[in-house]
Symmetry: C2
């Protein structure tokens, strides 16, 4: 079988690069992103740059008409509101997932949780490396609700990554979070929608408290 030729548009390429640059801290919050400069640095014209920056608007950057685009700034208020949104959407995702999950999915996620436990015992941190390993993303996928999956990815998780860049987690929080994940998983395996939503919302409230108490 022949490999299909991957013809990413320049705009998508720029989009990915800017997301990486922002979520890795290369571009700092509040920093101005000039279309002309980016175009010069990347060696392309301003069109694709404009397109990529516009796709990021409201997610990772803010635009001021006739002035330009800056990396979003993140205060305690914004962070709290982000957790509210997350609680609402992920709670619903967990509810829907509880109605949908297959035995295969449960087995896979159980393995993931086992690896997470091992990782914590090794390093006492709980940083997910890839989205495939992300428990929350797995539930969003399993919800079968394309809207929720898309919005969580594009509106919530990107912004969360910005915050995680410059904040540490409370000692012991990793173990707590894993225990809460196991509680959610337990309700998913029991196919208990109410319980799954309640467990997920409790988990996210707990993460919110833990995060905000450190500011």
């Amino acid at each position: 079988m022949v490999e299909p030729i991957r013809l990413n548009s320049l705009a998508s390429e720029v989009f990915d690069r800017v997301v990486d640059a922002i979520t890795s801290g290369e571009f700092e919050p509040g920093e101005k992103l000039s279309e002309s400069n980016l175009a010069r640095e990347l060696g392309i014209s301003r069109g694709p740059i404009r397109e990529a920056l516009q796709r990021l608007e409201g997610k990772l950057v803010q635009r001021v008409p006739r002035v330009g685009v800056r990396v979003i700034e993140f205060g305690a208020d914004e962070l709290r509101q982000l957790f509210y949104l997350r609680e609402a959407m992920e709670g619903m995702a967990a509810r829907l997932a509880a109605e949908n999950v297959s035995d295969d999915w449960l087995a896979e996620v159980e393995g993931m949780l086992g690896r997470h436990g091992q990782s914590i015992r090794d390093s006492h941190s709980y940083r997910q490396k890839s989205t495939d390993e992300d428990f929350h993303f797995a539930i969003a996928r399993a919800s079968g609700c394309a809207n929720i999956e898309r919005l969580l990815l594009s509106e919530v998780y990107y912004q969360l990554r910005i915050h995680r860049l410059k904040s540490s987690t409370r000692p012991g929080r990793a173990e707590e979070a894993l225990a809460e994940h196991r509680a959610i998983f337990d309700r998913l395996r029991a196919r208990d929608p109410d319980g799954a939503e309640a467990a997920m919302r409790a988990h996210i409230r707990s993460a919110r408290e833990s995060t905000l108490s450190l500011l």
Copy 2:
């Protein structure tokens, strides 16, 4: 005080016009929107058109790379998922609003509900004319959560309008909805977050059932 000069960008103008055209039925679901054609018809270049269409991506249109943009098509599945998202976000909005609302806000919304009641007695329909008169939008505003307000507006309400274009409501649904709105309002006035969220979610589930049963 001098009125600030309103200098809308062409892209915003096009955005508004395309939203109107789609939500009013001038552009039908599935119809292809050609950048070149729109540019010719509106007498401007393709840049602002591209920008406007891109802002609508995922909301009212879908883009296929190298092919173009079509008006989003709306099946029963998509509609159900839209109601799930709505239930999650508006439920949370009602909860937050119950913690935030001022007496002034309550008085204003009580007046709005009174007008809605009158409108139903007159015409037996429950079509909101403007967003200012929209009960749900008022709650989203009152939540004080900018994220939720923005996403409800841009992701949910636009799509709902498409659906309402070509679907009738069950006889008697208007009265039901108003009664449910009053129940939500009652919990808001009592500053009861749990009750407000529960009432809102019950209302949206009820709307979902009523809507889907007609397909």
